[in-house]
Amino acid sequence: MSLNENFFKYPEEIKPEFIETEDIVFRDGSRISAADIWHFMTEEAPVRYPYAYTNNRYYGRRLSGDVRLPSSIKHNYLMLTMNDRTSRARENGSPIIFVQGGQSVDPYYAAGGIALRPASTGAWARGKEEGLNLREEEMRSLDVREKARKAISFEICQTAGYEHIQEGNLPVDMVAPYLCLRCSDVGYGVEAHRHGKRKIGLFLVDFPLDHQKEKEWAAGYLARNLHRLTREIGKMSGKEVTENDLKEEIKLHNKGRKLALDTADVWWSASAPPTNGADRRAIFQMGGMELHGDPNASLTVLKEANKDIKERVKHSTKGEGVTDNARRLFVGGSCVFPNDFRTEEAGGIIVGNDNHWSDISTIVEETGDPYEKLARAILSYPYEQPIEGRAEWTIDQLKKSRSDGFLFLYNWGCNTQSAIARMLCDIIHEETGIPTLIIEHEMRGEQTEQLQNRVNAFIEMLN
């Protein structure tokens, strides 16, 4: 592997093998060959986005060093082309809708929109300015985020994309997340736009709480919310949305969800982790089909990843950077994540996370009224159940992933995840004996080092 000290470079010797791999097929039917992806990732992107190639262990978003995993390169290609693709799609008439992470995006696409969660809008915004090194990129994003804090509230846990929409230059057409999905701040964040500088479409998909999956009327209510959502997006995309559109979209997204579940089973069953943590996370998350702003593209990469992982497991190939007998961690909570690379250096590996998994692991029934079926699925997301229900599901995931420890992370100012942290961890520990640790993180970055130190100490304790 040819990594020099400060700048990541894909080694030329893998090129012949890589360019033989599959194309990425996009939603509009267009495709890109592996050879063109190679060209972009080795020639174009390093010039346009130098920060992305920073090979610094402290940089949690650095490119995975597992260069022999084609899906990893393709995932990064999709992330680095987020601006090119999203800006083009919008110019071609697809409305861009801002959503919450960890939710299904089937209805947004069924109505002809593109759903982007906070991290995806972040990737889109990063792509708008070219030539920045990591320091410059970080300053840019801190600056815009600070403006959002001032505009919303200094006590906000995270600004959830507000900065890009109100203070930045992203032409988002509508802010329309599912609410209460994991937190109350998302709702207040949507509301904050009503006095923002820029007038923008606002919409609430209400996600009613409290034993919601057992209540007929909760499903009916959410289904009506979803109907309104597709109608509103349809008005922008110029599409009369039919039930069949949603049905077809659900089928497509179920493919992603099922494939991610299958991939996870294989990954978890392996004697040694077949990828590093960063690649695992991206691959599992592709099943939600919202990672790249193009569900079809995510699906083609996920299919390829599934095959590659099965191959690796068959040959007991270990992921790049993973130590022998790495301690397996499962991460709970929301909106903050440890640095995978440094966790691996410390002798651990993150094998799963509940956020961005609870929705993916919920398959939507494909027969019957699609709105109602989707509503029922959404209301049964384990992450949003009463704490005892969430704990039960988490325990199941811990067992399946053969985790040695459970880390629960939340941001400073996160009122909802923080409120449940203690109880969730207590139940998990009582029922499984698995050690748990709660870490609170200061979003502004000063505490990142402290967070990682605590993760590393936890790994040591597990040893």
């Binding site: 509230s153 207040y188 919409f203 919601q212 009327w217 939340y410 009122n415 409120a419 449940i420």
Partner: protein, 395 residues
């Protein structure tokens, strides 16, 4: 001039825990509730005794509560959990069942925590975020039906329409009387202060509701005798302050004391532990639907997002109370980690600025470390209002 009824109310509150214990011995059941949207009418109509739970201002309880919930929850929520953990509060000790609604999600989560750690029987009422849409209102009605069924099981009887009609009338009268009391405290040279009215409202969290209404009538009778009909006219050189924002529950006197000490006169509040629950609620029929519609269409709590600034009922209500009580400035109280109100502080300030009403945000919690800083800011604010008034009078 003193008001004898205030003394009576004070004594009644002192006797209430014992009364509740006696009532329970005779087989009556007590429903303690918290959060912001529990319709007491239903509890009352079922023959159950409602008490509103939650206190403030006690850092020790906050610390105890934080062991079970987190330090990133507002102090009111933490103290609530602390109260259950300690189990000394007479109203908590006397609650047979606890009810909570899902308006503020922090208290909703607190309900789960309380249920788990302290084995308390809790019944939850779901609250829609899309409360102004027909589907949201239908959802709330269904939730209220479900909630009522659970309470019927506790009461061992079905909800009776006639009884419900009686309870609705009782609560309408209570709300009307409270609004009337607020008028009296806002007149010049009033014999009752806002702070006393605020305490009277809190007495209503605990007292037998029929008895409470008769005490309210008695108090209003006294006031009528002393002042005639309340006319809020002459501003009288006071710095007339309205307090809005996060809940100020019984026991939390920190900010109120400071405002009074620096010479501000509180003439009203827009608080969910004060006037707000009495505002803008109209129950048109004695049925679950009638109650659901009445509650969901009243002033929305800040925890329920609303997307159109111009038609926001919360802001309309705030402006109306300012106007009705001739307030000259707003002190907007935000508890740390109370996002429902903290997120809205600067927006509310901008909105009121257009009306010529200054707003001072005081962001605090129960600990005393920021007392002096708050005092300085409140003092400057009160001075500014007084100076403004002098200038206006001179002009």
């Amino acid at each position: 001039m003193t008001l004898e009824t205030l003394e009576k109310i004070n004594n009644a509150v002192k006797e209430r825990p014992q009364e509740l214990a006696d009532a329970r011995r005779k087989g009556r059941k007590v429903v303690g509730w918290f959060n912001y949207n529990i319709p007491e009418e239903i509890i009352h109509a079922l023959g159950l005794i409602p008490v509103r739970l939650g206190t403030g201002g006690n850092d020790r309880l906050v610390e105890i509560g934080a062991r079970y919930i987190s330090t990133k929850n507002c102090v009111f929520t933490r103290e609530l959990v602390g109260l259950f953990a300690e189990n000394q509060d007479p109203y908590i000790k006397n609650s047979d069942i606890v009810a909570a609604d899902a308006t503020c999600l922090q208290t909703y989560r607190a309900a789960e925590v309380i249920k788990h750690y302290f084995k308390i029987n809790i019944v939850i009422l779901g609250v829609p975020r899309n409360f102004s849409l027909p589907e949201g209102q239908e959802y709330f009605e269904k939730e209220l039906e479900f909630f009522t069924k659970k309470l019927e099981a506790v009461a061992g009887k079905k909800l009776d329409t006639n009884k419900l009609a009686g309870s609705i009338k009782l609560y309408n009268d209570i709300r009307k009387s409270i609004k009337e009391l607020y008028k009296y405290q806002a007149i010049s040279k009033s014999t009752i202060k806002w702070r006393e009215v605020f305490d009277v409202v809190h007495a209503g969290f605990y007292l037998d509701r029929e008895k409470y209404l008769s005490l309210l009538h008695e108090l209003l009778g006294e006031l009528r005798e002393q002042h005639g009909e309340p006319v809020i006219g002459n501003l009288n050189g006071d710095a007339r302050i309205l307090v809005s924002g996060s809940i100020i529950p019984p026991g939390d006197t920190k900010l109120i004391n400071i405002i009074e000490q620096v010479g501000g006169r509180i003439v009203s509040d827009e608080l969910w532990s004060g006037l707000n629950p009495s505002m803008n609620i109209e129950i048109r029929e004695a049925s679950i639907k009638g109650i659901a519609d009445g509650y969901i269409n009243r002033v929305p709590h800040a925890a329920l997002p609303y997307l159109d600034l111009e038609t926001d009922g919360r802001l309309k209500n705030l402006k109306r109370i300012i106007n009705d009580h001739k307030a000259q400035g707003v002190i907007f109280h935000t508890l740390r980690f109370c996002d429902p109100f903290t997120f809205k502080a600067s927006e509310t300030k901008d909105v009121l600025k257009k009306e010529g009403i200054p707003l001072l945000e005081i962001h605090t919690e129960y600990a005393g470390s920021d007392l002096e800083a708050i005092r300085t800011r409140a003092e400057a604010f009160v001075e500014m209002i007084k100076n403004k008034e002098i200038q206006e009078v001179e002009q």
